[in-house]
């Protein structure tokens, strides 16, 4: 297998710019040359950056390039973090969940037939990981010790102080919804995804996602009225109250 170093920003090589296109890159990948990471006797190191298209990136991932994971993270790390944050809310396990998504992606990228679907595919992995964590927490909820009165005030989550009461209450309400309805609601109303994209991310039909959203909306509005901040929002609708 080819083992080529990514461009070293300290060493500008004219050849790297000229060889940036996917065809040249794939050709080099198939040549099965091994280039030592150290300087060659001729003094140059061949750097082939991964092309900007998803086709090139998927090819690099499937070829096992050492730099492909970091490129995947640079391009899609924020997407993955955003999807997870929408579904989970302010969550101390967010870094672990992001890593879990990339572990899953890197382990299964060999099966990705359509490189153009890379973005949607990563989104669906993120949804899958989030769903698994939500369900796992629901199963262990009964282990919470009661009562709280005797326990010292221990900060239970690193929710930033600047996070508003509305943000916190929104996810408190979402925690009371079943996992599938919570996910559908978060992707549609918070991430503002199109219905078809929500259905694809959740791997269900459009009809199913519409039913889930309808139930989620109704329950959310019902529960939100119990929270002073959200009640104002749900009832008045035109004032952002803290």
């Amino acid at each position: 297998m080819v083992d080529l170093e990514p461009p070293d920003p300290r060493r500008a090589t004219g050849s790297s710019a000229g060889m940036a296109d996917a065809d040249s890159e794939n050709s080099a990948l198939r040549s099965h040359m091994r280039v030592s990471p150290t300087k060659t006797r001729s003094g140059g190191i061949l750097h082939l950056p991964i092309g900007e298209s998803d086709v090139a990136l998927v090819a690099a991932l499937q070829a096992g390039r050492h730099d492909a994971a970091s490129v995947l993270f640079d391009r899609y790390g924020r997407l993955v973090a955003r999807v997870l944050a929408r579904v989970m809310g302010p969550d101390p396990e967010l870094p672990d969940l992001i890593q879990d998504v990339f572990v899953a992606a890197l382990s299964s990228v060999g099966r990705l037939e359509d490189p153009d679907a890379l973005r949607h595919w990563l989104t669906s992995i993120a949804v899958f990981v989030a769903r698994g964590r939500i369900r796992s927490r629901t199963r262990w909820r009964f282990l919470r010790l009661m009562p709280f009165d005797e326990l010292p005030d221990v900060s239970t989550s690193p929710v930033p102080a600047e996070a508003s009461e509305a943000l916190r209450c929104t996810y408190q309400v979402l925690e009371e919804l079943p996992a599938n309805e919570r996910i559908a609601f978060a992707l549609r109303f918070i991430d503002q995804m199109e219905l078809t994209d929500v259905a694809e991310a959740c791997d269900v039909s459009l009809a199913t996602i519409k039913r889930r959203l309808h139930r989620a909306q109704r329950k959310f509005a019902q529960i939100a009225r119990r929270h002073p901040v959200l009640a104002e929002w749900v009832e008045a609708g035109d004032r952002w109250a803290r």
Partner: protein, 427 residues
Amino acid sequence: MGSLNRLQELGRRIAEEQDGLLRGSGLFEQIRPTVSRMRPLMRRGPRMQAGRTAIALAAAFLCGLAGVWLLQSKRSLQFEIGIRPEAGRVGAWISASRREPLPVHFSDGTELVLMAGSRGRVAQTTPHGARVVLESGQASFAAPHRNGAQWELSTGPFVVTVTGTRFFIGWDPARDVFELRVQQGSVKVTGCVFGDSGRSVLAGEMLRASCDAATFAIAKAGVTREMEDPRHNDATVSTPEPSVATEEVAAEVGRKANTQPARATGQNWVDLAGAGQYVAALQAAEAAGYDRQCATLNGPDLARLGDVARFAGRLDLARKAYFAIRSRFPGTERAAIAAFTLGRMDQDQEGAHAVAARWYRTCLTERPGGALAREAMGRLMEALHRAGDRDGAQRVAAQYVKRHPRGPHAALAEQLLRVGRTGPGDR
């Protein structure tokens, strides 16, 4: 349709806030090194019938991504050593030079760094982790949390079992000193003074132990707990000697201290508040970073900070502190009191009786038997009455006279009930 638009607008605002928090969190910089060390495990063969046949044969694993984990679980972890990574061999000794640390990267993203002059080996790898032996010296360890992960670090007679943590470990065989500082997650230490049942060490705790002396001590930021080895009745425990690790943690704690002196007066905000100088106390708190205080103070001090801001007339800062209590300590008595106080601010300072009523209800819902339950019920009744909800006020009044017949709002409750029985014309 109106409610749909409202939900969408709420969602948009939530998303904006989340994106801001993500941008300021440093999350990507934190995670990138770990992900960068991961390697694609699946190598794509020729895109031909053979590959498609393999996929067909493995169809049972393709329900969602469940098959991905099964396939990964059958392969032991690989690891690489050094900055210009070389493949590692199980059982081979690994030594860091006297001048530089030596990193060891595992294929699941776990990183072990042998400090300068330290020596160890990877004794065994499995699909779920590895067993590492630290022969001498110090090492840092960072493993992303994975369900089912099994890592074991042994050093001298001590064994540290982890599932997903970050910690610093040291072993000096000549002095018989074992040190462990957990930065994230938790670990369990067995062996020697801890026996087979072991002892958990949590994030923020430091452990120091000596096998020959049969002693161990655990230090937490600001607190030192002295422990006895239950197996030796006459064992004594020394407080941890100042070590580099202890001083580093102490310095870190000092930087996060919640009572830093005010630049203007040289006194911290707690002292100024104790002297009744609320404006000066608030200035001191702001000088030390009000948002940071809200994020790091313990519950009692955070409540005190909110009160200082309220007494100093800064309701916006007071709300920030009370909201921080509710975010960081949900479900506690203190969170319920914060809800009550927010209600009081809305009612007394803002005249927002309907909003105040909701806060009082929140307080009563979260703590129906709490310290302020009687006051919350009385004020709820008053707030509903002043907001024009006569029926609601009367319902609460009926409950109030039953539970608190001699309470401070009993007279109001009786009056509201009389109006309910006889009509508004008789008021």
